[in-house]
């Protein structure tokens, strides 16, 4: 292939290599040269060997070829009538507004933002951004209406609180299985007899057990970890507002096998010693000091990979949790602290949306949305039954346990129920004073390709109707859901809306599809070899990932260049991005 003008401009400092055989006498132009972006592939395939004597593209353009030369040959001084001088400045960037079309073009583009490529200066000035094709390299940024002063803010930065949620946090000092359920003086007692009632919640559950795992007892065998669920109960109001009582220091953990002993969560199972099979402290996981209330279920033989089986296990666990919620609702204990979560419309700041792709393909690829109780099961709707279409939740609804996760999709990359209860991206966006987070869109990943397109196009229509100015798209898992993920990014990006993607890809989950809008991407892998390592919660979205995603979105919205990804996953790039943002180094799992 030959180089188009805009590709050429990006690569003036890269090696010059003939794309096809060329004959003596040729005056070299971009049409004769191979795209440097392909060099690595070609070198891998043994098609190309770059030479130290090789010249750069800017050194050869317009020069005459003195000898017949084969395709994919680096151009050296010996082949030419002379060499152009190298330009002193760094690799030129192609600014926004330039076009590859030939002939003069003046394209004024009015942006309600600062000049592209700069982040300082009088922000909020309206600028006319002009790029003139014939005068290469010239860029002008001219304030709109130079004679009049433009207000610093186009719209006044006012705020409207839409709803407030108070989370009353109660510290759990100990958990005991007893003859009654109560919460007093920080001691949570759970009536052991509740299991007899809980098992009746679904006939597919054949056995259910419960035990308590203290922080110092983590080296204990566990069946695969299906979910980690916070203990939270509505004391006043409905999901997303009013008062929710939350227990701190204790969480439920659901495990399961079928009657034949087959682990329920497959695509990598996390059964084994608990201390090796959970990334303690990650958002979806138990914290190091948490007391874990383990509910172990046995479901009907061969129903583990069918939708009804795992759901039955979640239902029965929830019946146990509900007994605790009923006590927690009415507790007379004094809360340790209170947290206020507010859904705020921040006028005068760019409107952004968080899009969370969730699994939507049946067995262990499903979620319950908006249950009656925080993180509960009854009263909620399953996204698979809803056709996986995009649904909007307010940030507060999510932070109040609006999602109960039924997903498996690989222990390390799934988002468990606790993840949504303290989703780092929602926290980062909701608390960011520069952005107006409009809401969180949940969109399921259907099993059928046509349906993937359908739901993704509906997402595009939503984003357009919302007039969003920026979006972050995340997905749990990897594989076929990346079709949807990339399509969502395309739906948003093709509408001219800056978009950042967040996913586990690394080595094992490297993208199976791609498009041109997926140029600002955040990797959530925390495994040293880039694999789904079967450690629950290892590679889910963590606070560092969220911080990078938000900053990358801001950069993209302001027109600040995001360097293209390297051709292969490398932790060093992630480390460097963290370093640039002053974030702590990410803890990487290096156990086999």
């Amino acid at each position: 292939m030959s180089l188009t003008k805009d590709v050429l401009e990006k690569h003036l400092k890269d090696p010059a290599v003939f794309c096809c055989r060329r004959q003596k006498g040729l005056v070299i132009s971009g049409a004769d040269l191979e795209d440097p972006d392909l060099f690595e592939d070609m070198a891998d395939a043994g098609l190309l060997a770059l030479s130290k004597e090789g010249l750069t593209i800017e050194q050869v353009l317009g020069r005459k070829l003195e000898t017949d030369t084969e395709a994919l040959t680096p151009i050296t001084a010996a082949m030419l009538d002379g060499i152009n001088a190298e330009s002193p400045e760094a690799k030129p960037e192609s600014g926004s507004g330039t076009k590859s079309a030939s002939g003069p073009e003046i394209k004024p583009e009015v942006k309600s933002g600062a000049a592209a490529g700069t982040g300082s200066g009088p922000a909020s000035c309206r600028m006319i951004h002009v790029a003139i094709e014939r005068l290469e390299g010239l860029k002008l940024d001219i304030p709109v209406g130079m004679e009049t002063a433009i207000p610093q803010e186009l719209t006044e930065r006012t705020e409207k609180v839409l709803r407030t949620l108070k989370k009353k946090i109660f510290q759990v000092k100990d958990v005991i299985i007893a003859d009654e359920t109560s919460f007093q003086n920080g001691i949570l007692k759970i009536d052991g007899k509740i299991l007899k009632k809980a098992i009746k919640a679904d006939p597919l559950v054949k056995d259910i057990k419960m035990d308590i795992i203290k922080p110092q007892q983590r080296h204990i065998y566990t069946d695969t970890i299906m979910d980690v669920c916070p203990i939270a109960a509505k004391a006043e109001g409905k999901l997303g507002e009013g008062v929710t009582n939350v227990l701190e220091g204790a969480v439920f953990m659901l495990t399961g096998v079928d009657e034949d002993g087959t682990q329920i969560h497959e695509f990598g199972s996390s059964e084994g010693f608990l201390d090796e099979k959970m990334f303690f402290g990650h958002p979806g996981c138990a914290d190091p000091d948490d007391i874990i209330i383990r509910v172990e279920t046995v479901i009907q033989s061969k129903t583990g990979m069918e939708r009804r089986g795992p759901f039955a296990a979640h239902k029965c666990e929830d019946a146990v949790i509900q007994a605790v919620r009923d006590v927690l609702k009415k507790t007379a204990e004094k809360p340790k602290r209170e947290e206020l979560c507010r859904d705020i419309r921040k006028y005068g700041r760019p409107r952004v949306v968080l899009v969370k792709e969730i699994m939507g393909q049946g067995a262990m690829h499903d979620n319950i949305l908006c249950p009656a109780e925080p993180c509960g099961v009854p009263g909620g709707q399953k996204n698979v039954d809803l056709g996986n279409v995009p649904l909007m939740l307010s940030p507060n609804e999510v932070r109040d346990g609006g999602i109960h996760a039924l997903t498996c999709i690989g222990p390390a990359t799934k988002e468990m129920t606790r993840h949504y209860f303290r989703e780092p991206l929602i926290e980062a966006l909701a608390e960011d004073d520069e952005l107006d987070l409009m809401g969180v869109i949940f969109i399921g990943s259907p099993q059928v390709n046509d349906e993937k397109s359908f739901v993704s196009e509906r997402l595009g229509a939503w984003i357009e109707a919302l007039d969003a100015e920026g979006a972050i798209v995340t997905t749990e898992g990897f594989g076929n859901n990346h079709i949807d993920f990339i399509s969502h990014i395309g739906q948003i990006g093709s509408r001219g809306i800056p978009v950042v993607g967040v996913s586990f890809c690394a080595y094992q989950g490297q993208l199976v599809v791609g498009n041109e809008y997926a140029d600002a991407m955040i990797e959530t892998n925390k495994d040293i070899n880039g694999f789904e390592n079967e450690v629950a919660g290892c590679s889910e979205i963590c606070p560092n990932d969220a911080a990078r995603a938000v900053q990358m979105l801001k950069n993209k919205m302001m027109g600040v260049e995001i360097k293209p990804a390297a051709r292969k996953w490398s932790q060093s790039i992630i480390d460097r991005n963290n370093e640039i943002l002053g974030l702590p180094r990410e803890k990487i799992m290096d156990r086999i």
Binding site: G362, V513, M557
Partner: protein, 241 residues
């Protein structure tokens, strides 16, 4: 708009490009061809060691005269209920034997191969498993290789192995539930019925649909004249899990 920016960030995830074309044209009529079917959808004999569902690049031999009731699926990437009902939904061996009887194709390879492509190690499939399956099929005199995948990374693994077979001199087609992945990963030919992952070869126990998908795919192999062609097949099945 006033936003804090930080210079120097780099995108962290590579977006793939489709690999080089690989192409073997079919040179004889279907009724003279020896056909093999391979699948990345986790099919194996009940007596064999199940696949490691977190990622497994080993493969299992499936004799083409085996009773299909002796086959099963081990795959965590999709709802297995369709294959549990009828293994032909992923690995349509009964239909292929009928096509031989009917004279639509010449014969079947004695040995076919199953693997579990979900989360598949790309290098291992590209450099070890794929070439080995291709060599074994070629040694059996196979002309046509058909392949199904299950989940997304399965389609990637399926396509990698299919490309190895095409490169070894057999005409191959991926029957894809997720054609974008097969296309992006460089499948030489693709047919795509409207089916969910897990039932790539047609609705369970729907013999006419399974047969039609196979026949259309085989005809397409005869007609396709260049790399990367994709034909959407007019068969639709939705399952309500």
């Amino acid at each position: 708009m006033k936003l804090t920016v930080v210079e120097g960030m780099q995108s962290e995830i590579f977006v793939p490009v489709t690999p080089e074309p690989v192409w073997t044209p079919l040179t004889k009529p279907l009724k003279e061809c020896k056909v093999a079917f391979i699948t990345a959808g986790g099919i194996h004999q009940k007596t064999q060691v199940p696949y490691d569902t977190s990622g497994d690049y080993s493969y299992r031999v499936i004799p083409s005269d085996i009773d299909t009731s002796k086959l099963m699926v081990t795959h965590g990437g999709f709802d297995n209920s369709d294959i549990n009902k009828d293994v032909n939904a992923m690995f349509p061996l009964d239909r292929l034997r009928e096509l031989v009887k009917e004279g639509f194709i010449g014969s079947l390879a004695d040995e076919m191969y199953g693997f579990m492509g979900g989360g598949g190690n790309v290098d291992k499939f590209r450099n070890e498993t794929g070439p080995e399956i291709a060599r074994k099929l070629k040694e059996q005199g196979v002309d046509i290789v058909l392949c199904t995948g299950g989940c997304g990374t399965c389609h990637r693994s399926a396509t990698i192995v299919t490309r190895c077979c095409e490169a070894a001199g057999m005409s191959c087609c991926v029957i894809a539930a997720l054609p974008p992945i097969a296309r992006q990963q460089g499948a030489p030919r693709i047919t795509a019925p409207h089916v969910p992952i897990g039932s790539n070869a047609g609705e369970p126990n729907n013999i006419p649909m399974q047969t039609a998908i196979l026949k259309d795919t085989l005809n397409f192999i005869e007609e396709a004249d260049h790399f990367g062609m994709c034909r959407i097949l007019p068969y639709e099945y939705r399952h309500n899990v």
